[in-house]
Structure formats: structure tokens, C-alpha cells
């Protein structure tokens, strides 16, 4: 009797095991399948329209075949550069403050504020940048779009910086202080370098994410069929171009939208993979 019950429970346990294993593995497989599907579909749809002209030419007027999205590629690059130049130092310094100097109360408040900022819908960030930059300047511009993306980069950088600074073993700080280094020197020469690769990874993942943001660019950078000179003209960007081309009623525009989407995804994935590879490399910081 007793033995039977044991056998029964163990049989049940085994079937629960199999069920759980099976269903979780299935969901995991579905996740991978989703990525594979997106990739495959993009390659299928966009691959055929992808040629050298796509990377080197301006868009052609409606009905005229050929052309490319060179201006959108450059526009996206400039927007991301601005986002990084403005958002990363700001976020880095704030993260440094939270991790190294703030007392627990303010640190908690700042962390919370950062998370809230991270949760603000990107369209709202667009409106803010519109109000802050576009209205005073009276026109759409690369700067306005860059500011919108920079605001989105700040919380990502803050949290990445803080997290990786905190992960630096206390023994390294102690070693530095025990050698007669000041707190500042310890932070600058030991703590930040030890965390730098992690921080850089967080920044790259952040940039990869904002690279695909469309909403905050719609009424800040707007779009441009031609080259955007300098920083104060409206500019094309890959996501806005995809949006514009995808909703247009022309077949060849649709194909170009697919091609642009493929390029954007390839860039984002490359940045992601590069970031991951970077964290893995054995640690030795020069200098």
C-alpha cells in the first residue's frame, strides 16, 4: 500500500516534470521562432531590393525606379551620434553620482526617477523635444531629433553605469586606497576602468534600441527627401523612412521600406552581438 503510493506520486511527479519541461521548452522555441521569422521575412522581402544604390543614392521621386536611402542612413548616424554625445555623458555622470556619492535616500529617489523616465512613452519624449527645441528654433532639425533620442539614452546609461560600477569588487577599491590613492583617483583609475566595458555594453544596447525609435523623430527630425546639411535642417532617418514608405500606396516604396527595415535590423543586431562579445572578452584595460 505504502509502496504503491510512493510509486504513484513519483509517477505524477514525472509527468508534471515532463509537462513543465515540454511547455517551457515550447515557449522558448517560439521566442526563437519569432526572431527567426522576423529575420527570414525581412531577408525574403527586403533582400531583393537591397543593392549598392540603396546605400549610396538619394530617394527617387514617386514612379521613378531605383534610388536609395543614403540620406536616411547618414541621418540616422548623425541622430545617434548626437544622442550619444549628449545623453551618454549626462547619464554616465548621473550614474556615477548615484553609485559613488549619493546617500541611500537620494540614490533611491534618483533611481526611481530614472526608471520613470525610462518608462515615458517615446512619443511623449518627442513632444518634449518638440517644445524644447523645435518651437524655439521654428523648424525641424537633426538637433531636435538628437535631443529626443538623447533623453531616451539618459536612463539607459544611468542604470547601466550604476549597475556596473556597483559590480566592481570592493577589494579593488580597497587595494587602491591602501596604496595611497585618493577616493577620486580610485574611482577614475580603478573603478570606472573596471566597469567601463559593462557600461559601454549598456550604452551600445541603448543606442541599438533608440536607433529604431520612430515616434520621437516624427515631429522633431521630421524627414527629408534630400541630403540634410549641418545640424539644423530636417533630416531623413531609417525608421521614419520605413514608416513613410510603408504607408505609401506604391509597390516599389514598399520594397524599399522592407530593404530599409532589413538594414536597420542588421545594424541593431550587429550592435547587440558586438556588445555581448565585448563583455565576454578577458579583462585587461590598457594604461
Amino acid at each position: 500500500m505504502k509502496i504503491d503510493r510512493v510509486a504513484l506520486t513519483s509517477a505524477r511527479r514525472r509527468s508534471v516534470n515532463v509537462l513543465m519541461l515540454g511547455s517551457t521548452a515550447l515557449c522558448a522555441a517560439l521566442t526563437v521562432a519569432a526572431l527567426a521569422f522576423v529575420l527570414g521575412y525581412l531577408v525574403y522581402q527586403g533582400g531583393s531590393s537591397l543593392n549598392l544604390a540603396f546605400f549610396t543614392r538619394l530617394p527617387t521621386p514617386v514612379g521613378e525606379p531605383g534610388g536609395g536611402m543614403a540620406n536616411a542612413l547618414l541621418g540616422s548616424a548623425k541622430l545617434l551620434l548626437l544622442a550619444a554625445l549628449v545623453g551618454v555623458p549626462l547619464g554616465f555622470m548621473a550614474g556615477l553620482y548615484i553609485a559613488e556619492f549619493a546617500s541611500p535616500g537620494p540614490a533611491f529617489a534618483l533611481r526611481y526617477a530614472t526608471d520613470l523616465l525610462n518608462g515615458v512613452p517615446s512619443i511623449v519624449i518627442g513632444i518634449v523635444a518638440y517644445t524644447l527645441v523645435v518651437l524655439p528654433m521654428h523648424h525641424f532639425s537633426t538637433i531636435a531629433g538628437g535631443v529626443a533620442l538623447a533623453i531616451m539614452m539618459v536612463p539607459v546609461t544611468v542604470r547601466g553605469t550604476e549597475e556596473f560600477l556597483r559590480a566592481v569588487p570592493p577589494s579593488l577599491r580597497e587595494a587602491s586606497l591602501a596604496l595611497g590613492a585618493t577616493r577620486w583617483i580610485t574611482i577614475a583609475r580603478v573603478v570606472v576602468p573596471a566597469a567601463s566595458r559593462g557600461i559601454l555594453t549598456a550604452v551600445m544596447l541603448g543606442l541599438a534600441r533608440v536607433a529604431g525609435e520612430t515616434a520621437p523623430l516624427l515631429f522633431t527630425a521630421l524627414n527629408n527627401r534630400f541630403w540634410s546639411h549641418g545640424w539644423t535642417e530636417p533630416t531623413a532617418s531609417l525608421p521614419v523612412m520605413i514608416f513613410t514608405y510603408a504607408i505609401a500606396p506604391y509597390d516599389d516604396w514598399h520594397r524599399q521600406a522592407w530593404a530599409a527595415a532589413l538594414v536597420l535590423l542588421a545594424l541593431v543586431l550587429t550592435a547587440n552581438v558586438a556588445a555581448r562579445v565585448m563583455v565576454r572578452r578577458p579583462a585587461v584595460s590598457p594604461g
Binding site: 580597497e174 587602491s176 591602501a178 596604496l179 595611497g180 590613492a181 583617483i185 573596471a194 578577458p282 579583462a283
Partner: protein, 279 residues
């Protein structure tokens, strides 16, 4: 012993301040003196009125069961406890007669004179060279690049590591073995030319052969440095030290020449501990 009431700068006096009167005859004048030192972590008292003189150019071992305050005591000597929040210290610690807790004392200068090697080797994630050069650089000790190289080499030689790393100076220190890493940490501490070397269980994570190398090194170094070593290994204390101090529950129970402490201790508690009746 002379009391210094003003707060003299923690400079490097060439003359031993303590070498006065009868003490001048001693080959080991007092380098560090602690008088009735108590230390509190918040409300918890970790050291109770510890009074101990540490002689120069010899090895003083601190022994006692885990949690008895050995590391805490060691860290009062270079003020590393300062970085632990909510610590409070009472009593006096003097280095060459100067109160190291006096107002206006430059902690950075103090730590340059009192170097430290930690329990777990903690090389920076930098090259071997940059690890040793670190203290030289942040304290601006080298006059030129050539001087820096020479100082790094000299420190590595002192730590008996030069031959093993001379061909891989610019490779990551993290690629070294545990014992090599610990000797690198010793070289790094020596590079800023301290007078005193504090070692907190420097060999506890090492295999017997690496441990033996560290012990030989300690024996070598005591000619030029005052060494205070924490160890929970009594054989090690007996092998490397000249004087041994036995701690128990935050109190200093007994301090004596090592041989005497192990063979003929004054206190029953010491006897029980060194004969392994508890601990």
C-alpha cells in the same frame, strides 16, 4: 615613550623618534604603538582597549580564532576602517611617535607609509606592469618613464616575482596563478616604498608551495620592513614571526616573543588556544 601632543605631519622621519633612552639599545625600536584602542562597528564593539607595541624590522603575528578582531586591529593601523561607514575608534595609534588619528593627518600619506596586502589577492584588471606601477603613478614617485620601469622591476624582484613575469609584463595580471597574484600584490605594495607592511592572512587561499614562497618572502622582507601579519594558522605564525599577539573576543590576551608564546605562555587561555584545545 615620548608622547607627541601636537599633530606632526605624517612625514617620513629619518631618525626613529622612539630611539631615545633605553630603547635606543633595542634592535627593534617601537614602530607602531597602539594604546587602549577600541573600535566600534556601529553599536558593536570589535576591539577592547588593545595596547600593543610593534617593533620595527621584525614580524609580528596576530593570531586568534575567527572573528576575534585581528583584521579589524590590522586595519586600524592604516586607517582602512575609515572607509567602513559608522565606525568609531577610541584610543591612540602612533607611527614613529606621531598620532595617526590626530586631526589634520593626511590619510593618503599614512597609507603610503603603511602598505597592505589582503587576504584574497586583488590585482587590478590591468597588466602586471600597470599593477605595480599604479601606486608609483598615483603618488607621483617616478621622475621619468625609465625611473618608473626601474621601480617596477625593483619591486617585482623584491617580491621574488621578476623572473616569472619579466616576459609578460604587459599581459593581464588576472592570468597569473593565485600565488603569483599575491606576490604581485606584495610587489605593488612595496612599490610605494612603505615602512610597514600589513598582511591579512596573505596565504590563506594558497596551496602549500605558494604559501611557502610567501613565507620565505616575508622572512626576506623583514630586514627592511616592519611586518604585521594576521594568520589563523599557528604553524605559520610560529614559522615566520618574531613576536606573536594572541587576540580573543576583541581583546589582546597576550603578546610575547613567538617561541615563548607557543612553548610557555603566561595565560591559560593562550595555552589552551595554541595547544588546540579550542579554536
Amino acid at each position: 615613550m615620548t608622547r607627541v601632543t601636537a599633530s606632526p605631519p605624517i612625514a617620513r622621519p629619518r631618525v626613529e623618534r622612539h630611539a631615545t633612552g633605553a630603547e635606543a639599545e633595542s634592535p627593534h625600536p617601537v614602530k607602531i604603538a597602539t594604546e587602549r584602542v577600541s573600535l566600534f562597528y556601529g553599536g558593536k564593539q570589535a576591539l577592547h582597549d588593545v595596547t600593543l607595541d610593534i617593533g620595527s624590522n621584525q614580524v609580528t603575528a596576530l593570531i586568534g580564532p575567527s572573528g576575534c578582531g585581528k583584521s579589524t586591529y590590522l586595519r586600524t593601523l592604516n586607517r582602512m576602517n575609515d572607509i567602513v561607514p559608522k565606525t568609531r575608534i577610541a584610543g591612540r595609534v602612533t607611527l614613529d611617535g606621531a598620532d595617526i588619528y590626530a586631526a589634520g593627518v593626511d590619510v593618503v600619506a599614512l597609507r603610503r607609509r603603511v602598505g597592505m596586502v589582503f587576504q584574497r589577492s586583488n590585482p587590478f584588471p590591468k597588466s602586471n606592469f600597470d599593477n605595480v606601477a599604479y601606486g608609483i603613478r598615483v603618488n607621483r614617485l617616478a621622475s621619468s618613464r625609465g625611473d618608473l620601469r626601474e621601480r617596477v622591476e625593483a619591486s617585482l624582484r623584491r617580491a621574488a616575482l621578476w623572473d616569472e613575469v619579466k616576459d609578460r609584463l604587459h599581459e593581464s595580471a588576472l592570468a597569473l596563478s593565485g600565488g603569483q597574484q599575491q606576490r604581485l600584490c606584495i610587489a605593488r605594495a612595496l612599490a610605494v616604498q612603505p615602512d610597514v607592511l600589513l598582511m591579512d592572512e596573505p596565504a590563506s587561499a594558497l596551496d602549500p608551495i605558494a604559501t611557502q614562497r610567501i613565507e620565505e618572502l616575508i622572512y626576506e622582507l623583514k630586514r627592511d620592513y616592519t611586518i604585521v601579519i594576521v594568520t589563523h594558522n599557528m604553524q605559520q605564525a610560529a614559522r615566520v614571526s618574531d613576536v606573536t599577539a594572541f587576540f580573543w573576543l576583541g581583546k589582546l590576551v597576550e603578546v610575547a616573543p613567538t617561541e615563548q608564546l607557543f612553548t610557555n605562555p603566561r595565560e591559560k587561555l593562550t595555552d589552551d588556544y595554541v595547544t588546540g584545545r579550542f579554536g
